[in-house]
Symmetry: C2
Subunit: 398 residues, 2 copies
């Protein structure tokens, strides 16, 4: 069975490496080999083992009827969308690792795949090597999914783990992560939570069957988290993790991406460094968690190749996933309820005026008081916070 790879960067060349290294076992599992016929890239790779496969025009792949399976690892929405659409319309199944494409055009591409009786899959777009997409769409299919909580960005988890372990400040660990290649030159997408936001939008679309617009999800990153926050967290026995959360709420879901205080009894507490984990609660299954490498060339490529095996096993039909183009109206996030950890310069008497029931957490800092609120809605909390004259930082309890 012939495969085309579009985009020969880190992930695309990783896919070639997985197909080469594991060709025997893949052949055994499929009953036939997976062979790379084309690699689409504008650059030249004359010394590459697959040098003969390179093409510069995606139409060379479109018109070759022998190619039934296509990998998209270019990144970005365009021209990836145009190319993937053309492949699906030409009767080829596609797997992509491109979360921007999936978050933006997933439902549309799914419909095109269905109309052309082929498949569009994207295991590698969320959680890298963790098979969370297939778990949700092909395993936990007997359950109503009540909650998903994900540590799904390796860069920020690496940074938070380091801040916790070594007491580093945010700016210091960011430049360290950049020099190690764990964070990009422009780290906004990671550190401000946009990447995690797109991923929880995809997962929520899959479990709701409708289309979640990632712009609707309130999103905070980790750039306000300091070593002082970690000192407080430690004194309370907690850690701080950037969590993308989606909770069933009537007929819809309520989503948020933010740093949360997590305790050791919760499995996400133990997810350290660049590892990712997705915790899923089903109404019959109860709690479950899926843990693994959330990024990196080979783990991500491993997920792409797993998708290729799935596509090869299903070349004869469209496998229903249930992601309609109809928009899912998310629940009002201001009605989400949390307990809040608050650092403020306000006086204790003011705190007790605004928040009847509080628990103080003291680090003996001169210029601030820290406390934990009772559970209340975002709307109520924000009202009281304004009355208090604001806060230096606020972190929700998970």
């Amino acid at each position: 069975m012939k495969v085309a790879i579009m985009g020969y960067g880190t992930i695309g060349s990783g896919v070639a490496k997985v197909l080469d290294t594991n060709k025997d076992i893949i052949k055994e599992r499929l009953g036939e080999p997976l062979e790379i016929k084309y690699i689409l890239d504008l650059r030249d790779f004359p010394d590459d083992v697959h040098a003969k496969c390179f093409v510069k025009d995606y139409k060379d792949i479109v018109k070759d009827k022998e190619v039934k399976l296509v990998v998209e690892t270019m990144g970005g929405v365009e021209p990836a969308f145009t190319f993937v659409k053309a492949m699906l319309e030409a009767g080829k199944s596609v797997t992509t690792s491109n979360k921007a494409l999936v978050a933006d055009k997933g439902a549309e591409l799914m419909k095109i795949a269905k109309d052309n009786d082929v498949n569009f899959v994207f295991e590698a777009a969320v959680g890298g090597g963790i098979p969370i997409i297939r778990t949700l769409t092909a395993c936990l299919t007997g359950d109503v999914i009540e909650e998903i909580s994900a540590i799904c960005n390796g860069t920020t988890n690496y940074m938070l783990t380091n801040m916790e372990q070594y007491g580093s400040e945010y700016a210091q660990i960011l430049s360290e992560a950049q020099s190690l290649g764990y964070a990009e030159k422009d780290p906004t997408a990671d550190v401000e939570g946009h990447d995690s936001c797109r991923k929880i939008a995809i997962l929520t679309s899959l479990v709701s069957g409708k289309n979640v617009d990632f712009n609707d999800i309130p999103t905070e990153g980790i750039s306000k988290i300091s070593s002082t926050d970690f000192k407080y967290a430690k004194s309370m026995g907690y850690s701080i993790k950037l969590i993308a959360k989606s909770v069933k709420c009537g007929d819809t879901y309520s989503c948020r991406v933010a740093p949360f205080l997590v305790k050791p009894e919760q499995m996400l507490y133990h997810v350290a460094g660049v590892m990712n984990a997705v915790s899923v609660r089903g109404n019959m299954l109860g709690e479950s968690m899926y843990y693994g490498a959330g990024a990196g060339a080979l783990p991500t490529a491993s997920a792409v190749v797993g998708d290729l095996v799935f596509l090869a096993r299903n070349t004869d039909k469209h496998v229903r996933i249930g992601w309609a183009n109809e928009k899912l109206e998310l629940a009002n996030p201001s009605q989400q309820k949390y307990r809040y950890f608050v650092r403020t310069a306000a006086l204790q008497s003011n705190i007790e005026n605004e928040f009847d029931e509080v628990k103080y957490t003291d680090l003996d800092l001169d210029d601030e008081t820290a406390f934990i609120t009772a559970e209340m809605t975002e709307a109520e909390f924000n009202e009281r916070k304004i009355a208090l004259g604001g806060a230096k930082n606020v972190i929700r309890f998970f």
Copy 2:
């Protein structure tokens, strides 16, 4: 689509409950409803909501061509094997939660399913609600699986967690677990590791593609673990977990079920109570872990219903899983290498004669010395242990 359930005990009635409770979302995912047409049980359930579905002869199901999907939740090898075989031969796909049946007859039933162009699946047979079977057979298909380490028996994990937390003795916590219904009246299969052994045999068969005889796997349970062992473990910063392990070794695998000393940096350390987890290392993916409820009516039934959705999506063809009847000759377990924790009445001079390089772990007990060996093979360790005059207890480091 019509379903038959064989065996209306805890799991079988759980399956009916999942199908009833979640019928809307299952219909949405499948495009058509799953309806129970028959329930096979020798007992009468006149007040059950499905009272009209009960039959006492499995042949009533065999001969009804409308039934394409069958659930086997009777337990035990016979008559389950005879019934399942008849269903497959009649062109019906089967899902089972019965690990005894799968460990004993899995490869044979897989061949029968293939010959009849139907499917035989068993997600619920290992790890309860954790979708580890589909993860191995349909997700991590691009990887060579290098290692599987599983906490896959909820009873023993519950007991060990309690011994650790409350300092209880084995006999005391066993009788407590029995009175809570977490352990059976005859607890042998759980506490002596036989249940875990069957499960790692199934998982190893799936990743090797050949048939593992569970009788070939060296198996120790937890009945020799005492509160004193936990005191030593705690003093070293470790926990003790019953782990079923399978490691790739050339063209085959090397397996063992035994209690292991696990440290907090290892995710399995954090798996507490009745929860289960399976850690999987792929040659491309690296480390991953799958965590959830390993037992209980609804989590197990959730996995069975997930299988039903899979079977309903694949009524038109046999999906290759790759579990041949050919026997896998496991690697010689005496060549496995570990570091060992040893408690002995032998003199320190004797210990240092037999084990050159040791690290002592002292709890100030009068009648014994405890030490940790360097890494060595089982064969070498056993030779030295005999020369030492034996040991009170030995626990391997994970």
